[in-house]
Structures are given as structure tokens and as C-alpha cells.
């Protein structure tokens, strides 16, 4: 099928994120389910798979969030271990990709490579890895070395870590297991899986003990907006999570990241740009907007607003009234942060400038603290009738602002169902979303080239 312009329609990729421990989830809604019982994850995954989504995505937890020295209690707290849940979900799904965030700081390449290769075997080729960095001593307090990694080395370590795991994944070529019962030849070659990695971060060698998995390596995701992050994705990743849901910002990001790929010898279509997207559906656009406003107020209570303000102001603001004006004092620019353990704890690059913007906005619109926070912490990406949402998604993909979206419902697990039931069929009718899985691995769902076979790697080694 082609559009009227004659260009073939881009196929949309859709994924589902089971959110973790931030204020996206409206846990006070009676429809909101458990964030720890396996049944919640099973229902979520099966909904995504019935709707033919490319994959499901889970984040990672390394330390409970704190603010002002106390464990943060306003949002969902408590989550399962990522690898373990994904492996269990492989049992109750058949085609759905299984993507998890695993950090490169408080882990070792050998162990992580084993776990991803195992997940790929046990899911018959559906594993994916969102590579993230961590660096702070706060998180390090739960691990053997404590906070050992300087912040400015975190991307270097991540790159080294990823390359080390790739060597491990490739250490078995895929033809070592002969399995000849009659002759007793289990291995076709002795000493399989040999590796030797010696760089600034890793000094490891030996033989890897997991044979090559169906995809060869897990699909690699990356989420980074900085220049270094974009370069990393252009060089290494198969998909990039982005925060740019609007058309102009999305197109700029898309063009920039994909423009960096050629120098690595990579085709543009081998990196999928997939922004995270929240949504609120209604029978009409007006109804959806009303519902969206209600959800925003549920997500940002007065207490939550104060806590979020503290994340910029970097001070204890408990004395302030959420229905009152913003603080007159300036943010504290010190090294110590009142909010700890959040992935985005340093998202404000210029706190003084942001504080000024917020004060101005507040003054112009007459916003209280709570209303201001509701305004600036982002509206839902897609608000409208199913038709309007489908059209918006399609437009963003066809205009190269994205290659698809990772949907994040505010009610889990059941909030995904409405999107699956009402929006997906419209995308299928437009001819821009699959009506069946044509492949069985995640690489196939994402349209990624298969990795070199064992034969090719031997040929290359011989050349």
C-alpha cells in the first residue's frame, strides 16, 4: 500500500512499557493492579501480544528512591527483578519481544552476557537490552564496590561493557555443538567460547559458557539525549528511546541521530527511533481532554507537586503551600541533591534559568505550585478519540518524527487494553501496522538485518 504521493507507507512499530516507580501510575484508581504480582505482568504481556506489539519493556531498580533523607512513598514503590520477570514472561508469550533495562555499572559483563544469552535461548530469540549507566554513590551503597565510577566515565564504561558482552555473545559462532551421539562428538571443536578482553575497564579472559543464542545477541536499546548518548546510539544501538514526542522536536532528533550512522557503515533503517508515549482516550477529543486533565491532577497531587518542585529547587520545600505561589528563593546549586536514586535526578541543566521560566509562567498564567508542575511536567502525548490518536501516531511516523512508540499506560496492567482494542485496529486498517507476526524473533519484528552467521565469521577470520 502506498500513500497518495507514491511513497510506500512506513510500518509503525509499537511497544508497551510496564511503568516503574514514578508518578505515571495512578495507583489510587481502583482499576490499578499490583506492580509486583506476576499475574499483572502476565496480563500486560498477553494484551501486548494479542495486539501484535513488537515488544514489552521493563525498567530496572537498584535502590529505593529517597527525598530529604526519607524513602519516597508517594509513587509506586517495589518492583520485581527485570531478568527474572522477562524469563517468566517468555513462558506465557510466544512472539512478543522482551526488553529489559540492565545497567553497566553495578554489573559485570560475563554475568550479564550469560543472562541475556539465556533469556534469548529460553524465549527462542526475543531478548532485548536497554543499556543504561549509573554512577552515583547512593546507588552504590547496595553493591560490593560502592560508588566507584566517576560520573564522566560512565559512558566509557558502558561502551566497554557493551563491547565486552558482544565479544562474549560472539565467542561461540553457532556451529560448535555437533551432538553426534554415535561417535561421541559433542563439540565439533575443542575449547569453544574463548575470549580475552583487556581494556581500561575490564581485564577478563577464559571461555564463555553459553552457546550462541537464536538472535546471536540481544537487540540493543539505548536511551540518551546528550550528544554522547546520540553518538553511542548511532554507533551501537538497534533502537533508541527518546523523549521527543512532538513533531518538530521529533523530526530534528530523528534526523540528527540517523545522520550520525553513515560513518559507522550503518543503514538508517537499522536504528529505530521510538519515543515513550502516554495516552488518554475518549469517545470524543473533548472528552479525552477532560479525562487527561483529571489524570494529570491524579498524577500530581499537592504533595507530589512540592516534591517535584524540590527536585529543581534542591531544597526542602515542605513549608510551602501547593496551592500557593512558587518560592521566592533560588534553587540550591550545591552538589548534594535532595532527591536521590532517580534516573533523572540531574535533568535540570540550568536550574536557575528553569526556575526563572517557571516563575514567569506562573505569574503570567496565575498558576499555583501544583498547577505549574502539572503544566511543566508534560502533558500526555496522545489525547483524543481513537481516530485522532491513530492519525497522530501515523502522521508522526510517516513524517519521520519517529519509527513508532513505546506506550506507557497510567493504569497497569489493564490500561493497555483500551489502546489495543480501539487504536490498533485503526492503524491496521490504514495499512501501517501488522495484522499478524510474520517473524518469530524480535530482530525480525523490528526489521533488523540478521547478524553474521558462523560461516561468515569464520570466513572473515580466515581472510
Amino acid at each position: 500500500m502506498t500513500s497518495t504521493g507514491g511513497k510506500p507507507l512506513k510500518q509503525i512499530h509499537l511497544a508497551a512499557h510496564f511503568p516503574g516507580v514514578n508518578n505515571t501510575t495512578v495507583w489510587s484508581d481502583p482499576r490499578s493492579g499490583s506492580h509486583i504480582e506476576f499475574d499483572s505482568f502476565r496480563r500486560f504481556a498477553q494484551t501486548a501480544e494479542s495486539a501484535l506489539f513488537d515488544f514489552l519493556f521493563l525498567a530496572e531498580g537498584l535502590r529505593l528512591r529517597e527525598q530529604n533523607g526519607l524513602i519516597y512513598d508517594l509513587d509506586v514503590v517495589g518492583r520485581p527483578d527485570t531478568f527474572t520477570v522477562l524469563a517468566a514472561l517468555a513462558a506465557v508469550t510466544d512472539r512478543l519481544g522482551l526488553a529489559g533495562t540492565i545497567n553497566s555499572t553495578f554489573n559485570e559483563p560475563y554475568e550479564v552476557a550469560r543472562q541475556f544469552a539465556t533469556l534469548d535461548h529460553l524465549s527462542a530469540g526475543r531478548a532485548a537490552w536497554n543499556v543504561v549507566t549509573s554512577w552515583d554513590a547512593f546507588t552504590g551503597e547496595n553493591f560490593r564496590r560502592g560508588g566507584y565510577l566517576p560520573q564522566n566515565q560512565r559512558y566509557e564504561r558502558a561502551r566497554s561493557f557493551l563491547h565486552a558482552t558482544q565479544e562474549l555473545f560472539d565467542s561461540w559462532h553457532g556451529d560448535e555443538i555437533a551432538g553426534e551421539k554415535n561417535t561421541g562428538e559433542f563439540l565439533s571443536v575443542p575449547r569453544p567460547g574463548r575470549f580475552s578482553i583487556h581494556d581500561a575497564f575490564f581485564d577478563i579472559e577464559g571461555q564463555f559458557n553459553v552457546p550462541r543464542s537464536p538472535q546471536g545477541r540481544p537487540v540493543i536499546f539505548q536511551a540518551g539525549d546528550s550528544d554522547e548518548g546520540r553518538e553511542f546510539a548511532a554507533a551501537e544501538a538497534d533502537a533508541i528511546f527518546s523523549r521527543h514526542g512532538t513533531k518538530e522536536a521529533g523530526q530534528a532528533f530523528y534526523a540528527d541521530v540517523k545522520g550520525r550512522m553513515a560513518k559507522y557503515g550503518r543503514d538508517r533503517d537499522q536504528l529505530k527511533v521510538l519515543p515513550a508515549a502516554t495516552f488518554v482516550l475518549g469517545d470524543t477529543d473533548a472528552e479525552a481532554r477532560e479525562l487527561a486533565d483529571i489524570v494529570r491532577h491524579q498524577q500530581v497531587s499537592g504533595q507530589t507537586a512540592i516534591r517535584m518542585l524540590e527536585q529543581l529547587w534542591n531544597r526542602d520545600l515542605s513549608g510551602y503551600d501547593p496551592d500557593g505561589p512558587l518560592p521566592g528563593i533560588d534553587p540550591d546549586l550545591g552538589e548534594h541533591t535532595v532527591a536521590r536514586g532517580r534516573a533523572g535526578v540531574r535533568t535540570h541543566r540550568d536550574p536557575l534559568a528553569t526556575a526563572r521560566e517557571w516563575r514567569e509562567l506562573s505569574a503570567t498564567k496565575g498558576y499555583s505550585i501544583r498547577e505549574l508542575i502539572i503544566h511543566v511536567t508534560g502533558r500526555q502525548n496522545f489525547v483524543g478519540s481513537p481516530r485522532a490518536v491513530a492519525d497522530a501516531i501515523d502522521d508522526l511516523v510517516q513524517s519521520d518524527a519517529a519509527d513508532g512508540f513505546i506506550l506507557v499506560p497510567h493504569i497497569t496492567p489493564d490500561g493497555l487494553g483500551e489502546f489495543a482494542d480501539k487504536v490498533v485496529p485503526l492503524l491496521q486498517q490504514k495499512g501501517v501496522f501488522r495484522t499478524e507476526y510474520t517473524g518469530s524473533t524480535l530482530r525480525e519484528h523490528l526489521g533488523l538485518h540478521p547478524l553474521a552467521t558462523a560461516e561468515r565469521t569464520r570466513e572473515e577470520a580466515a581472510a
Binding site: 517468566a88 554475568e111 559433542f186
Partner: protein, 405 residues
């Protein structure tokens, strides 16, 4: 609680079976199948059909080797394996009642990760997780995979020597600390910490979350866990032990110790040593089950079992040797043997099938009925949880126990 005369049974799953030539059996899985989900699910379902208390799944970081401390160059043995905790998670949603006990080493892993892995397995299996805590005893080759610490090469010939013994004591001390951290993290959330209290906007009652603040030689861990208290409270910890140092570790840290007496006369002294170590560790009042280990080759006709084992030895090129007692005979005769050993002081047995599926089927469908006929084994699962089937009560959280009523 199970009747005192009844025994507990576990099956030890490893590759194609414990005999090195097991993979060559025609009725066994093809080699590539050893890495498939279906193969592992079939084994666990067989064990479940046999009403076994649990399965263990072997694992280790180094590639398998016939040599204790070095990798070998053999091409006639099973090489390559999957992470055991993920195998356990993969089969959890599709199995019931039977415990899932992966082996996870204590030597190079982060206790924080292990704690949430086993807790999550407990959630995914609705209360059937356990953990076989194992030290990475091979020293240098395993340490080189991580590059974080220098461990010496320990050759088999040196195992009894003072340097190796000192090294083992350190590894087991670390293991005891590791288990302690994991247990504290399992208790770091009280059972009712999640309150979802809309009126005050609080998802949790933070007073019911506890920092563990563990400080030890090998690691310090702050806590709390990111994962709420497991359904079983404390998933059972299993330890394999052959000698004084590991007995002491098991006595301090485990809920089940697997021991390797050569015959029934060896049982009383072993159990005596373990109970003494248990008392010395201040755990005298607690339940520590003692299981005996057997490798089993089972056929209705005992001569066939012996002949089969000899054929396998021939194929392997060397007679089969094990740290455990080896039994080749009929399920009925094994039932008599287990009854004898149980009377000598054991609570149960972990059986290592010589080949899969043959000997695992024989355990589930030959041995179990023979034990049931003698009134020595359950005829139905008593409980949906592993602790329940082991007769172990669900422990109160150490923090709630400390709070006066």
C-alpha cells in the same frame, strides 16, 4: 506437617543427566535441545508428576570441565549451559506445587541482585522458590571471568593442603555473609508495607521498610530491597556439604543441607557434626533438614540397570565416580535403601538421575510409587508452596517479631 515417617525427595537437574555419557543415549534430547525451554519444562513436569518436593538446577560460571580447577579440551562431554535462575523462572508459570531451586554462586555475585532474583522467582512461582547457595571453588579460572579479584589456581592434588583449606574457609565465610545479606533483604520489607492509602497519598508505609546496613569483609549493603517480601517470607536456602567447613556454613546459613555419606553407617556422625555446628551457630531451635545424595541408575530389572551403567561408563571412557553414593538397581530396591538411610537420621534425599529422561522417569513413576506403597512418601501435595511441602512454617519478619504486640 508431613508425617514423621515420610521422607522428602528432590531431583537434581543437570544437562542430559549426571553420567558424562548420558547425552549419547538415543532416547535423550538432541544436544541443541539441552538449551531449549521445552527440555527443562519437561523435566520439571516429570518431577511434579512424581510429587517431588523440589528440583535443583545446577549452574556455574566456568565452562564445564572434567578437571576440577582447569578447563579441559574434551569434545565428548556436554559443554555449555544456561543460567539456572532464569531456567527456574521460565518454567515457573507453567508448573505448580513443585519447588524450583536454582544454584547461584556466592563468590562473584552481588547479594543485592541475588536477593531480588530469588524473591522475584518466588512471586513468579507463587511461593515455590529456593536457592542452592554454592561457592565458586575452582579459584583462578572463574575469577578471571570477572577480573575483580585474584584467586590462586587450586589443583585437585592440593585440595587437602593448608593453602586450599584457608581459601575454602574464606570462600565459605563470604558465602555465609552473602546469605545473611540476602536474608536480611528478604525481610527488609514487612509483609504489609504496601498500603495504597489514598487519603494520605502514601503507596507504602515507610516505617515498614528497613535499611539492613550490613558491613562485612567482602561487601557492605545498605538496603532496603527494591522487591517486597517474597510470598514465602524466606525462600529455603539449600547447601551441599561434604566436610567440616561446608557443614559449618550449612549449619549457619541453610534450611536444607545435602550430604554425601557413602553408606548408612556414615549418617549418624555426619548429622551429629551438623547438629553440633547448628547449636554453635545459635540456630539450635531452628529447622535444618538433612538430605542424602544419590546418583541413580534405575531399571525394573536390576541387572539391566547395572549393564546400562557399564555401557555408559564404556562410552564415557572412564568408570563413573561421584562425590555421592551411586545406586544402580531397581526402584523397589532403592526404596528399601532410602528407607534404611532415612531411619539412620535423614529427612530426605536429593536424587541425581544418571540419564534423562530414563532415570528421571524412573524416579517419578517407579521409585515414588514404591515409596508410597511403603507409606514413606506423600500421595498428594500438602501445599502450594515449597516451605509448606517441606513442613517448614512461614517465618515472621524479624522486624515485626521485634515489635511488641
Amino acid at each position: 506437617m508431613a508425617s514423621r515417617s515420610q521422607i522428602h525427595l528432590a531431583a537434581a537437574l543437570d544437562g542430559a543427566g549426571w553420567h558424562p555419557a548420558a547425552w549419547r543415549e538415543p532416547e535423550g534430547a538432541p544436544a541443541a535441545g539441552l538449551l531449549s525451554a521445552g527440555y527443562w519444562l519437561d523435566q520439571v513436569r516429570t518431577a511434579q508428576a512424581g510429587l517431588l518436593d523440589f528440583v535443583t538446577i545446577e549452574d556455574g560460571f566456568p565452562l564445564q570441565s572434567d578437571d576440577f580447577a582447569e578447563l579441559d579440551e574434551r569434545t565428548d562431554r556436554v559443554r555449555g549451559r544456561l543460567d539456572a535462575s532464569l531456567i527456574a523462572a521460565r518454567v515457573a508459570p507453567l508448573t505448580r506445587n513443585i519447588g524450583l531451586v536454582p544454584t547461584v554462586t556466592t563468590t562473584h555475585t552481588e547479594p543485592f541482585h541475588v536477593s531480588k532474583t530469588i524473591a522475584t522467582l518466588d512471586y513468579a512461582s507463587t511461593g515455590r522458590a529456593g536457592w542452592r547457595a554454592q561457592v565458586g571453588a575452582s579459584g583462578h579460572p572463574e575469577a578471571a571471568l570477572f577480573g575483580r579479584r585474584n584467586l590462586p589456581r587450586i589443583r585437585a592434588a592440593d585440595l587437602a593442603g593448608p593453602e586450599a583449606q584457608a581459601r575454602f574457609r574464606e570462600l565459605f565465610d563470604e558465602a555465609a555473609d552473602h546469605v545473611e545479606v540476602v536474608r536480611r533483604l528478604w525481610d527488609s520489607w514487612e509483609d504489609d508495607a504496601e498500603i495504597r492509602e489514598a487519603a494520605t497519598g502514601r503507596f507504602i508505609d515507610r516505617d515498614k521498610l528497613h535499611y539492613i546496613d550490613f558491613e562485612g569483609r567482602h561487601f557492605s549493603v545498605r538496603g532496603p530491597s527494591i522487591t517486597p517480601r517474597p510470598p514465602q517470607g524466606q525462600p529455603p536456602v539449600v547447601a551441599l556439604a561434604h566436610a567440616t567447613v561446608p557443614y559449618a556454613f550449612a549449619a549457619r546459613s541453610a534450611d536444607i543441607v545435602l550430604v554425601t555419606p557413602a553408606g548408612p553407617e556414615a549418617i549418624a556422625p555426619i548429622v551429629g557434626e551438623i547438629r553440633a555446628a547448628q547449636n554453635a551457630a545459635g540456630r539450635g531451635g531452628e529447622s535444618l533438614l538433612v538430605f542424602g545424595e544419590f546418583v541413580v541408575f534405575l531399571d525394573e530389572d536390576p541387572a539391566a540397570a547395572i549393564a546400562r551403567k557399564e555401557r555408559l561408563d564404556e562410552a564415557a571412557g572412564t568408570p563413573y565416580r561421584s562425590d555421592a553414593a551411586v545406586f544402580a538397581g531397581s526402584p523397589d530396591a532403592l526404596a528399601d535403601e532410602l528407607a534404611l538411610w532415612a531411619q539412620a537420621g535423614l529427612d530426605g534425599f536429593r536424587l541425581r538421575p544418571g540419564t534423562v529422561p530414563h532415570d528421571l522417569d524412573a524416579i517419578a513413576f517407579g521409585l515414588v510409587p514404591a515409596l508410597q506403597a511403603r507409606g514413606l512418601f506423600r500421595r498428594a501435595y500438602e501445599s502450594a508452596t515449597l516451605r509448606g511441602n517441606l513442613g517448614l512454617p512461614r517465618p515472621a519478619n524479624r522486624h515485626t517479631a521485634a515489635t511488641p504486640a
